[in-house]
């Protein structure tokens, strides 16, 4: 994947977010906003447990989900125990990233660390990556633009470009770990070489399963899944959809050869259809 970087290529890095030790402190959200100068986009009260961030987007690159469950826990005998799930979501930095595939300007690119980053000086806000992402991560920023419009007549008031987690590309360049992982007080967010994280996650899963923790599973660890495995994967305690994550995400460019072939047949049919319309003469 990183062959084109030759000597500059680095070991692929990512996140392993172990939600079994997340305490919902949101230090990751704050650290991310501070380090990356991610703007505030409105303070609303949702009433959805302790979550007022709601979802990842152009102005939220980490999002802590809170799920209150009233389910008996396996092996504990209490039938009305409240289970409170917390999980810090982030861009998955997919091995096969749909946002990157469909970007028509080359603004989205794969870094020497194997992460997926938007070059904000290139992005023209076409918005194609937004519906392409199977996780609903990347989005257009609708806040007022902060730089001066280059061509007044063709410019808009709002920022208009797309934004998402960069896995702190600037910090990686300087040899530091991303801000969210640095700030996480329980090591729920672990940063490191992906291979190492996968081994660590396997050991953690084994331990939790041996202690019969209810529902522990890895999400996005498998390099054979629909997006070729996540660069940022998770240990969850319930089905992914409970956390607002798709259960079987797929990079749709996987089907692109078939789609171009179908389009070619349709183009041929179009030409034949036009020719056929002339078979009956002029009247």
């Amino acid at each position: 994947m990183l062959d084109s970087y030759r000597a500059e290529a680095q070991e692929r890095v990512g996140f392993f977010t172990d939600t079994s030790v997340c305490i919902g402190c949101k230090a990751c959200e704050v650290a991310c906003k501070e380090w990356n100068l991610v703007p505030e986009d409105g303070l609303v009260w949702t009433g959805e447990s302790y979550d007022n961030t709601s979802e990842l987007g152009a102005n939220s690159w980490r999002h802590v989900a809170f799920i209150e469950q009233n389910e008996p826990r396996q092996g504990e005998g209490e039938d009305d125990a409240l289970r409170w799930l917390m999980s810090s979501d982030v861009c998955k930095h997919c091995t096969h990233a749909a946002c990157l595939d469909v970007c028509p300007t080359g603004a989205l690119f794969r870094t020497e660390f194997g992460t997926v980053v938007v070059q904000e000086d290139v992005c023209n806000g076409c918005g194609y990556c937004v519906p392409a992402c199977p996780f609903g991560v990347i989005d257009r920023r609708h806040l007022p633009r902060t730089d001066a419009p280059a061509i007044p007549l063709l410019s808009k008031e709002e920022d208009g470009r797309v934004w998402k987690c960069t896995l702190c590309y600037d910090r990686l360049k300087g040899g530091h770990e991303p801000a969210c992982a640095k700030a996480c007080p329980t090591n729920s967010i672990q940063f490191g070489p992906l291979d190492e994280l996968r081994e660590r996650a396997d050991r953690r899963l084994e331990k939790l399963q041996a202690e019969s923790w209810n529902g522990a599973r890895l999400y996005g660890r498998d390099p054979d899944d629909g997006v070729g495995g996540f660069g940022a994967f998770f240990l969850l305690l319930d089905e992914p959809e409970v956390y607002g994550l798709p259960p079987d995400p797929v990079v749709t460019t996987r089907d692109l050869p078939e789609m171009w072939a179908t389009a070619a047949v349709a183009m041929g049919a179009l030409v034949l259809g036009v020719v056929a319309a002339f078979l009956g003469g002029s009247r």
């Binding site: 806000g125 076409c126 609903g136 349709a266 179009l270 002029s282």
Partner: protein, 298 residues
């Protein structure tokens, strides 16, 4: 089905109505240039001339529509910064740039009456990109995570292609006297019939995933589309063969119906992104099936 407070798992597209309108103008421009060349080759001179004018007009309004939709319109030239086959929008930008250049050269030279052979060459050049221009937008929306678009990837190119030829036929049937507009009328009627059949087939195959096409704004405009296209086709097939007025009315109805078809497909995508069930349910079924089935050896 569980979801996180009923929130969508996908982001709705950020595209504005200009994009849906472009699906129509791109289809009209592309199919009209094909119509023009076939008309020329079969000796229908007036039909050929009017069709290339329609094509260049549609090609001329298309780029402004797309530029207006960009978050950073002043950076529209970045579309031609790279060429990527993995991005139907990149491929499409090059097709549209090429097609607009060719058809505007042809129309300009025709208007000033100079260099007729260069004008002809430009017309042929634009016709080469006609079918791709009319169809690639279907591939563009199919290559997204939006369930109602991606799962319809087998039918959408044919739906967009038939909608495009119906538009080209209808526009030409308005612009050309009835005595010479036979092929245009047949094209419009045939396009409408094929398109409506494909839409029904597509919805039937999609099953539950196809619901958004019949719901909300998408459903409303689908009904408008069926009424307008079928009504317009009936006018073109009947009284439109003798009366220019009936032909013009029929052509206008078909064109309105084609805009409604594009709008219905466009809005269905937003609706299917908004409801988590269309994302979760098929994926949950897939994941459960994969879990119970033995893993194939690698």
């Amino acid at each position: 089905m569980s979801s996180y407070y009923g929130r969508p798992l996908l982001k709705e597209p950020v595209w504005q109505p200009e994009v849906a309108l472009y699906f129509f103008t791109g289809g009209l421009g592309g199919a009209s240039s094909v119509l023009s060349v076939v008309a020329r080759l079969s000796g229908h001179e007036l039909l050929a001339q009017r069709s290339i004018q329609i094509s260049s007009a549609a090609d001329a309004v298309s780029p402004p529509l797309l530029i207006a939709d960009l978050g950073r319109p002043e950076r529209f030239l970045n579309m031609l910064r790279v060429f990527k086959v993995t991005s139907p929008m990149s491929v499409g930008s090059w097709i549209l740039a090429y097609s607009s250049a060719a058809s505007s050269v042809s129309a300009f030279l025709n208007t000033i009456g100079r260099l007729p052979r260069v004008a002809d060459l430009a017309r042929t050049a634009s016709a080469v990109s006609g079918a791709p221009l009319a169809v690639y937008t279907a591939t563009l929306i199919s290559d997204t995570a939006i369930p109602v678009w991606h799962e319809a990837r087998r039918e959408l190119p044919f739906l967009f292609g038939s909608s495009a030829v119906a538009s080209a036929g209808a526009a030409a049937a308005i612009a050309v006297p009835t005595a010479e507009a036979g092929p245009a009328r047949r094209l419009a009627v045939g396009g409408v019939l094929v398109e409506n059949a494909i839409f029904r087939l597509m919805e039937r195959r999609l099953g539950m995933l196809g619901e958004p096409y019949s719901k909300g704004e998408a459903g409303k405009y689908k009904k408008v589309a069926i009424a307008c296209t079928m009504g317009g086709a009936a006018l073109l097939a009947g009284p439109g063969r003798r009366s220019r007025l009936a032909a013009a009315a029929g052509g206008a109805l078909v064109l309105a119906g084609e805009v409604a078809v594009r709008w219905s497909v466009f809005k269905a995508g937003f609706q299917s992104a908004r409801d988590p069930k269309y994302t979760v349910e098929p994926q949950r079924a897939r994941a459960d099936a994969a879990r119970s089935a033995p893993r194939p050896p690698r």
